[in-house]
Amino acid sequence: MAREDYIGVGVIRNDAVEKVTGAARYAADLKFSGMLYAKLLRSEHAHARIRRIDTTKAQNVPGVKAVVTGKDFPNRMGLYLKDRTPYAIDKVRYYGEPVAGIAAESLEIAEEALKFIEVEYEELPPVLDLREAIKPGAPLVHPDLHTYEIGPAFFPIPHTNISNHFRIRKGDVEKGFAEADLIFEDEYYVPHIQHSPIEPHAAIALYDRQGKLTIWACSQSPFAMRNILANSLNWPMNRVRVIAPYVGGGFGGKAGLNVEATLVPLALKCRNSPIKLVCTREEEFRDTFVRQGMLCRLKTGVKANGRIIAQEFEMYWDGGAFTEYGVNVTRAAGYSSSGVYDIPNMKTDSYCVYTNKPVGGPLRGFGHSENHWAMEQQIDQIAHKMGIDPVEFRRINLQRDGSRNATGQVLSNPGIGQCLERTAELIGWEEVSGPGVIEPGVKKVRAKGIACMTKAPAMPNDAASSAVVKLNDDGTVSLSIGAQELGQGAFTVLAQILAHELGVRYEDIKIQPIDTDYSAYEWQTVASRITYSCGRAVKAAAKDARRQVLAHGARYFGVPVEDIEIAESRVFVKSKPDRSVPIGTFSLGVTLPDFSGYGGPVIGRGTFIPEGITAMNEETGQSEKPVANWTYGTQAVEIELDVETGKIRVLKVAAVYDAGRVINPVTAATQVEGGVVQGISIGLLEEMKFNEEGKLLNPSYVDYKILTAADMPDELLISFVEVPQEDGPYGARGIGEHVMVPTPPAIANALYNAAGIRMKTLPMTSEKVYWALKERLSASVR
């Protein structure tokens, strides 16, 4: 009998049958008797003073149980910066901000009653343009910024629209540029985009007779949500409970606290009545988190031999009306601003800017899709300028063992070199010697492009994980964790780790839905950190349970504990394998031959916190270990450009990531597939468009396009490098977000190699490509 090895095996996902058959329950599926329905009145101005709100008429509509406005809940809340209230107080800061909420007996009544709320606005000049927002004297979105509570790693500039200024000062950047043989400078831009989960935000809030507030929500962050709520209510944490069923796609949009907050003042007014809110798709687009826009200027100094010697990077983030979470995006993009390259002299300034736009927040990639859009095109531009093949130019500058990244951290054996070489091999890279040229009469051209990436989990230094393993009477196993299943396969991978470590059958493990009252603590399911961090906690909990089972077994069989093993849910004597019993024999303790009891129920506990992460210096951003780990990856694409229409089709993608150790090759590959598809979608299609008043023009899939099945690449070549992560479970590190990061710049680089045009603003729509092509063709004629 051997211990079943579940690591590196593509077991079938433990949520597959439930989800495929439609049996899985999501927050929007939940219903309670006596439930009320909430609807929100939203601002129709981007920036305006609220002169008067009168809710009397709405309150008197039959069936309406409560109407609330900002003044009903004035406490500010937020994950990193407390700048937000559930409803606008005194002024509105974006077109769509909640101004009032209604709880009623039916959705129809709630919606009809909205019309009876009278709001008088006095319009203020909206701050919609990033460049205007940072000018001295610009109207302030948050005049009280200097009074807000903020986390220690963030540096707002009082009396401006800048809520965080992150800096890197490494080496001597002036000297670096002075020594450079070539200095290259350019600007890049990414627009606001949406996460586009299948499941819209949904939540139910209940303030019960015991004085407890319970929230059922589709949440990536039940514990962080509890923390923020208890904090803003100034309540003991055991009076707040968050229950989080499966999440139907998160991508960051369901992290932290979001639309759930609007239910809290309503619930407090309607004691003992659960109140449900489900976002419409239009609200999902505009009124949950969005990805911030970003404008940046990147300046690079290079030696004649191709070595990058200096870099200056300025990033301005269009943070929107509230940047409680967004400030950390700007920080993360700042500390990763060397990308995968070894750059001795660096100066980075990353500014989080308030504007009167929807609320910026986390979206898969967390600032890295944005900064790599600039960095990975800049690399290609310089390579072309110097007449060096883009892959070769990357080789010259890649981080190596002993390199120092932007924060001055000394890197140990980064896997990027292997990723680059394997990607080039998979795509069939041929040396690129210059921009693509379109011959007259040619209707379609093909070319390849490549881009690299790196990202670290962006989280507080003490972001912790924990797990509890319980053996049931019959030997089946319950795993209690606070990590969420968002579709990424976390529950599967964590069950594999448990099965492997404890010696039980994978099929015998059930993971409990998250309930902050009963589940083991987890910071948040974000930052691609679950396999790495919660994986370690589960591994430790499994080991703890195993130790208990082995001790019970030794006592039961009367042999030394070293002679006991567990495999496939059976406990046996190693030296006499026929002496074996099902693991359930020991679930509740041991019954000895004289029928006396011993021990007790098996409960394993495990915790993890990444160790040794230290704060970055405020002035320089330098730290020997600023983050838990770095994951590297490379993607290459082959595109076909329709010269007549400007339409890009991605034919083939090669993607290679250093996962440290792949726990499940199937779920890992599907993560890459999803990431690549999202990357292509962001590259070619996605953009939230606003008019001059700050109103979102495309809050639905009619005019916010995402990639469809008919636009998929013909070929997706996925491979993994495995340079072990020292403190990861079995060497594993996260890849969940990374896989969407390099796709857009790889496409942009391919476009240049195909047609000699460079798109610096996302998305690369047919129309934009068409005009760029026209310009290029007319320039070459001149």
Partner: protein, 288 residues
């Protein structure tokens, strides 16, 4: 959220007309509902009564008799058209156009009658029906009439239909000769999208080439100027002239989907490609 409304099912053509007259201006005929419900949900339409026409005899299904052309029940789903062998082989352009609408799920519900009554300038089946010279058979309070499709649309979302009048059948005359049709649609994605520009081109063995455009004018339009250029000549230069004439005819707008200038250039590109492909297809089917 959808507000409540009355749903009534018409048992016959007369019943439908009577119910509509009775319902007044807040009533509307219902086929697949794929456009209607979106508007009602968004409150662009506040309707009190929906009159379901799908149970009316003959309003669903297709008939094709030699010499009599094709008759399509207005409530036939787009997927019925796509899957119909006769349409695929003899009116292939219509099958292509129907297939380009929305997604598979939408096409299961959406009807051809609804597609034209919705009167979107970008309605995908309209350019195809235009080049086939389709006629729209309607029933209304004042009797039945046959309206040439070229006279059916009057503006974005507007048709010549009078209150209480509904589309019963779409009739496509038997083409006199062998033909080959091509529908080219430029969207942002390759499925589930509205046209930025669309072009239907039907090349007939008689030498005639018919061309219609979608999404570049207040209604879908035939471009007879372009067609007449191709009557006598079909060389490269003539095709270029025809494409350029199509561009001259188009009067697109700029919106969130695309700019006017881009649409104009794309009319020329797509028209040229559609003519070339239609002529090549016709030539290829002629070879035995």
């Amino acid at each position: 959220m959808l507000l409540s409304f009355d749903y009534v099912r018409a048992r016959s053509k007369d019943d439908a007309v009577n119910l509509a007259v009775e319902a007044g201006p807040n009533g509307r005929f219902l086929a697949g509902g794929t456009d209607l419900f979106v508007r009602m949900y968004d409150r662009q339409l506040r309707l009190k009564t929906l009159i379901d026409v799908k149970e009316i005899e003959g309003i669903e299904g297709m008939e094709c008799q030699n010499g009599q052309g094709l008759s399509i029940g207005a409530a036939s789903s787009l997927n019925m058209l796509v899957g119909n062998e006769t349409i695929r082989s003899r009116y292939g352009l219509l099958a292509q156009a129907a297939h380009s609408v929305g997604s598979l799920q939408v096409r299961n519900r959406a009807s051809i009658g609804g597609n034209i009554c919705n009167a979107s300038p970008a309605a995908d089946t309209a350019p195809a029906l235009l080049v086939y010279d389709a006629e729209i058979e309607t029933w209304g309070p004042r009797n039945t009439r046959l309206i040439p499709i070229s006279q059916f649309f009057t503006g974005p979302g507007k048709t010549v239909l009078e209150h209480g009048e509904f589309v019963y059948k779409i009739r496509i005359p038997e083409p006199d000769t062998r033909s080959y049709g091509v529908y080219l649609k430029l969207g942002r994605t390759n499925s589930v999208d509205l046209s930025i520009v669309s072009v239907a081109c039907l090349a007939l063995a008689s030498g005639e080439v018919r061309i219609a455009l979608g999404a570049v004018a207040p209604t879908p339009i035939r471009v007879t100027e372009a067609e007449s250029i191709l009557l006598s000549r079909k060389d490269e230069e003539a095709i270029a002239f025809a494409a350029s004439a199509a561009k001259e005819t188009a009067v697109p707008i700029s919106d969130v989907r695309a700019g006017e200038e881009y649409r104009l250039d794309m009319v020329e590109v797509l028209t040229k490609n559609a003519i070339e492909q239609a002529l090549a297809g016709l030539a290829a089917t002629g070879e035995v």
